[in-house]
């Protein structure tokens, strides 16, 4: 039996990226805590919110309106606190997953 998109993301986060406390909230949103902090300027590893997208099923355009609605949804799941960033997970039809951060507002790029 094939698993749903969101379950495949969960598997990827737990077993490939070694995250803890991975929770499925609905068809779109997964939260979890990475084993190390993801950005060097973070204080510690923190809860991350992943928006799980099927690249082929999503359609082409990602608009301001959609991203803002994601922030609102996460806010309602997160004690009414709007996070400074969320993560988009994009899955291709070959099972490849890529993750991108989306920060609220204009931020400086990360210095690598």
């Amino acid at each position: 039996m094939s698993s749903t998109l969101i379950e495949q993301f969960k598997t990827n986060l737990i077993h490939y990226n070694l995250w803890n406390n991975v929770k499925i909230h609905n068809d779109l949103i997964i939260s979890g805590i990475p084993s190390t902090k993801l950005v060097s300027t973070d204080d510690s590893n923190q809860i991350e919110w992943i928006m799980c997208i099927d690249k082929l099923g999503f359609g082409k355009e990602l608009s301001i309106k959609i991203i803002n609605s994601w922030f609102k949804q996460v806010q309602s799941l997160n004690n009414n606190f709007r996070p400074s960033r969320i993560t988009i997970g994009i899955m291709n039809d070959d099972g490849t997953i890529v993750y991108y951060f989306v920060y609220d507002g204009i931020t400086k790029p990360r210095q690598n």
Partner: protein
């Protein structure tokens, strides 16, 4: 109304595809240092017309810069050709290289001729109408895009056109001669592929990609025939700020 504290923005070719081209170095310095307005240097060397490493005057102002300078009463649009003809008629053209010559309309000069400037002034409505004749902008898209520019400009960023990095604009935290660019800007939306291509390219050149837009895009599909006062009022109105989101490769996965 006096024009003395305004920079003169000489308009070339007002009837068809108008441009603002500035030849006056003092004005270019003032725009850049005083107002964070960069423009694009377009002049090349007559002996090597194809090189593009060292570009010089004239400085071409992009449309958003022209509107912003006009809105904030920093600049006044003047029809360069009719201004020159008028100047010839009254015989005030000297042979001097930097002032009063045929190309430069004096902005910073003591002897600028206010009467001629006012007489040959071009209304911003006319300028935009002519500018848009050859484009397929809808009114609402044009207005919104200007507001995105205005939001960034008023936030203190230096702004360049963004085509080199696949966006609509590129922003810098300070003068681009001294600072590395932070971000490419996309208006309204991007596609999923663009996140990946743009996110990767932007990250590898130490930038991020920023989406800017309004949540409720009031799409008015009216084509532009004539810019009226309503459109200008909409352009200049300071309603709510656009939303911005910064996108960056996560580094895991």
């Amino acid at each position: 109304m006096t024009t003395t504290n305004k920079v003169i923005l000489p308009v070339i070719n007002i009837d068809n595809d108008p441009e603002v081209l500035i030849f006056d170095l003092e004005v270019i310095k003032y725009l850049r240092i005083g107002l964070n307005v960069l423009g694009v240097l377009t002049g090349t060397l007559s002996t090597f017309p194809q090189q593009n490493l060292f570009l010089s005057v004239p400085l071409k102002l992009i449309i958003w810069e022209v509107i912003w300078l006009t809105e904030n009463n920093k600049g006044i649009l003047v029809d360069a050709k009719s201004y020159r003809n008028d100047k010839l008629k009254i015989g005030s053209v000297s042979k001097s290289k930097t002032t009063n010559n045929m190309v430069i309309i004096p902005s910073t000069d003591n002897n600028r001729n206010e009467e001629l400037i006012t007489k040959n002034q071009i209304d911003i409505k006319t300028f935009i109408t002519k500018y848009l004749q050859n484009s397929n902008y809808t009114i609402s898209k044009f207005i919104n895009n200007y507001k995105y520019y205005k939001h960034l400009q008023n936030s203190g960023y230096f702004i360049n056109p963004g085509i080199k990095f696949g966006g609509d604009l590129v922003i810098y935290p300070g003068d681009p001669l001294r600072y590395h660019s932070y971000s490419t800007i996309k208006f309204n939306f991007c596609d999923i592929d663009e996140i990946i291509v743009g996110g990767r390219l932007a990250t590898s050149v130490k930038k991020n990609m920023i989406l800017i837009g309004y949540e409720d895009e009031n799409e008015n599909d009216k084509r532009i025939d004539e810019i009226d006062d309503d459109v200008i009022n909409d352009l200049y109105r300071n309603d709510k700020e656009p939303l911005t989101f910064s996108i960056e490769w996560s580094g895991f996965g």
